[in-house]
């Protein structure tokens, strides 16, 4: 029996072919496997440490389909637990976030401290419990693995994973380029932004590293920037990164890196004068060196496989992707900012962020609606292969290019060229990791789908 996942990726570099099958986006069996292997079987991003600054702070979230609470205990240590009472299963923590020394289950009153330890079982002494009950742990069940890299908190429900450092690999360098923007690190600007779209989660994962869509999906945004640049009297809105003095510039160089773990990065050089960091360029050069300072002012789109995206362009954005169904995805979007940023820079950052990244903004809705158009198009079931991973095929090379070497990183593949090349080979590493993770015999009892799904051969009507 051929591997049902392997058949979805047509990867023949010698023939100049890399194709992704549409079933990867529409098959419920594939989705179930993704949830088991990627979201509930490996490292996923869960929260940022700045969301839980004080002892006993907590927030509730989801890993795959499973309810999770992240807590900071009395001594300041962070932990992540399945948010389910050991007694009868009820969710223990009900709020999105808060501060509590003791989490009390509202059903039968069992309580847990902020380290997840069972603190009390109501009327235990009178309960006539057998010794076997006492032998059980009654603590909240911690996730199998929990670790952080510079404030970015990750968890895995499976213990059988590499270290977080190994999982992140050189993606850490691009997290560094975010965290090191201020001597005092970064913070999440308060304000919840969350939206859903009727499309597969990988459409979001792809779009952020898809340079090809920018000019055709966002002409209304780019047109507005031109319109604002021409209206000299406008002082109601700060200029955006792409709004240089002479109008927009989109002809600059771009490049991409793909990493073996599935992470990917697309960069472009863009006019730096409007960048919120530009006024601090000299300080940055002195602190992190000229190479990294230059990279901080480039447009960078990072995917940390499978559920975290950090975009550094109009502003600094973190997106967390939560798949809900093969054709339904929730996105949580966060505005990141250097701690201690001055008021005018913060204001400019917020306006650029809202204009570009909000589901109520001037650009992201055009992306999100396009994902839905793709998902609707995927219902054209007789078409098997997408043609969206072919640009850059004759330029991409294995390992590090000059740009990777200057950063000291070792990607699986690199490419660079004119902006208009709009490389799509950046998706290759992502889908190679996807195929490897879904196809591998993990010994986890999760069977790969064995039944044929959507017909994959054209039939005569």
């Amino acid at each position: 029996m051929p591997d049902p996942i392997a058949r979805l990726i047509d990867d023949r570099p010698g023939d100049g072919v890399f194709r992704v099958h549409r079933d990867a986006f529409r098959d419920p069996d594939v989705f179930a496997l993704e949830m088991a292997r990627l979201f509930e079987g490996g490292w996923v991003f869960v929260a940022h440490a700045s969301q839980l600054p004080a002892p006993h702070d907590y927030l509730t979230t989801t890993i795959g389909r499973q309810p999770v609470v992240v807590m900071r205990d009395a001594r300041g240590s962070l932990g992540a637990f399945l948010n389910s009472c050991r007694h009868k299963g009820a969710v223990v923590c009900h709020h999105a976030r808060g501060n509590r020394k003791l989490q009390v289950c509202r059903y039968h009153g069992w309580s847990y401290d902020s380290a997840g330890r069972n603190a009390m079982i109501k009327a235990r002494a009178e309960g006539a419990y057998a010794p076997a009950f006492d032998a059980d742990s009654h603590d909240l069940l911690p996730v199998a693995r929990f670790a952080q890299y510079r404030g970015f908190l990750f968890a895995s429900l499976s213990p059988d994973v590499p270290s977080l450092e190994a999982h992140l690999g050189d993606a850490r360098v691009f997290i560094d380029l975010v965290v090191d923007q201020s001597e005092h690190g970064i913070e999440l600007v308060p304000g919840d932004v969350r939206y859903t779209y009727r499309g597969n989660w990988k459409l979001q994962l792809e779009n952020s590293i898809d340079a090809y869509h920018f000019t055709s999906t966002h002409p209304s945004y780019l047109g507005l920037l031109d319109r604002r640049a021409q209206a000299k009297e406008r002082d109601d809105v700060p200029a955006a990164v792409w709004q240089s003095a002479g109008g927009r510039q989109v002809d600059d160089a771009m490049g991409s890196f793909g990493f073996a773990q599935g992470h990917a990065m697309v960069w472009t050089t863009s006019p730096v004068e409007r960048h919120p960091l530009f006024p601090r360029l000299r300080e940055l050069q002195a602190r992190v060196g000229p190479v990294r300072a230059d990279w901080m002012l480039r447009t960078r789109q990072l995917d940390v496989f499978p559920n975290l995206q950090i975009a550094s362009n109009a502003a600094l954005q973190m997106r967390v992707i939560r798949p809900l169904a093969p054709d339904l995805t929730e996105v949580s979007s966060y505005c990141l900012a250097p701690v201690g940023e001055d008021a005018p820079a913060r204001r400019q950052r917020l306006r650029q962020y809202e204009d570009f990244f909000n589901p109520s903004g001037l650009a992201t809705p055009d992306d999100t609606v396009s994902y839905e158009d793709c998902q609707r198009g995927f219902e054209a079931g007789r078409i098997e292969w997408l043609q969206g991973a072919a640009r850059g095929m004759t330029r991409v090379g294995p390992g590090a290019d000059a740009h990777a070497r200057e950063l000291g990183i070792e990607p699986a593949q690199s490419t660079h060229g004119a902006f208009a090349m709009a490389d799509e080979t950046v998706f290759h590493a992502l889908y190679r990791a996807w195929r490897r993770r879904l196809s591998a015999d993990m010994g986890d009892g999760v069977a790969a789908p064995t039944t044929p799904t959507t017909p994959t051969t054209p039939t005569t009507p």
């Binding site: 308060p190 319109r227 209206a231 109601d236 589901p359 109520s360």
Partner: protein
């Protein structure tokens, strides 16, 4: 990409106020019924896609603010320090959005949904003054999305500040509080 969708008249924002903008004698505030009338005119202008009429209800320096939630029952307090879902420091920001919808360049705006706004429970939020009234109201906007022929609704609270200017009573500030803030796909000025 040159398709132009939005119907309705075009022109400078000050040119085409809708019929029925309320007035009050000099030295007297708007009566509550008249102030409510202005809110209803705004709702109709949006639903009729008469964007110029809609813009004409705003002073040129009007602030339009849709704060984000910072906790389950807390809203952003300052648009310059915390995140907003939408923030326009002047009417020009709303004109940007109308331009975008009309440009035919935004796939998110094609086709535009049909909408029905309902504004209710309008009260004075502060003692009215001869040239300024503050209002609080409840709103619902039903959105009928035409690609899928499906309906959803946004709902929340409005806070309007109306002031008397050269042209008469107009909106000086509007805050839109959105209660159901897990947004299905997208949201723009015409669905809140």
């Amino acid at each position: 990409m040159s398709e132009t969708r939005a119907p309705g008249p075009r022109g400078p924002s000050d040119a085409a106020p809708p019929f029925g903008i309320p007035t009050s004698p000099a030295g007297q505030p708007l009566a509550l019924a008249d102030a409510t009338q202005l809110l209803h005119l705004e709702a109709h202008s949006l639903d009729l896609q008469r964007w110029d009429e809609w813009l004409s209800l705003y002073h040129s320096d009007a602030r339009f603010w849709m704060p984000a939630w910072t906790d389950e029952h807390l809203l952003s307090r300052s648009p310059d320090e915390e995140l907003s879902l939408m923030y326009c420091a002047a009417r020009a920001g709303l004109e940007d959005r109308v331009w975008r919808v009309r440009s035919g360049l935004s796939v998110a705006s094609m086709p535009l949904p049909r909408t029905t706004h309902v504004v209710a429970n309008t009260v004075f939020a502060a003692p009215p003054d001869a040239d300024r009234v503050e209002l609080r109201s409840a709103w619902t906007c039903h959105v009928y999305e035409l690609k899928r022929r499906e309906h959803h609704a946004f709902f929340g609270r409005y806070e309007h500040v109306l002031t008397r200017g050269q042209a008469g009573w107009r909106i000086a500030a509007k805050t839109v509080v959105l209660m159901n803030d897990r947004i299905p796909t997208m949201l723009d000025f015409y669905c809140v």
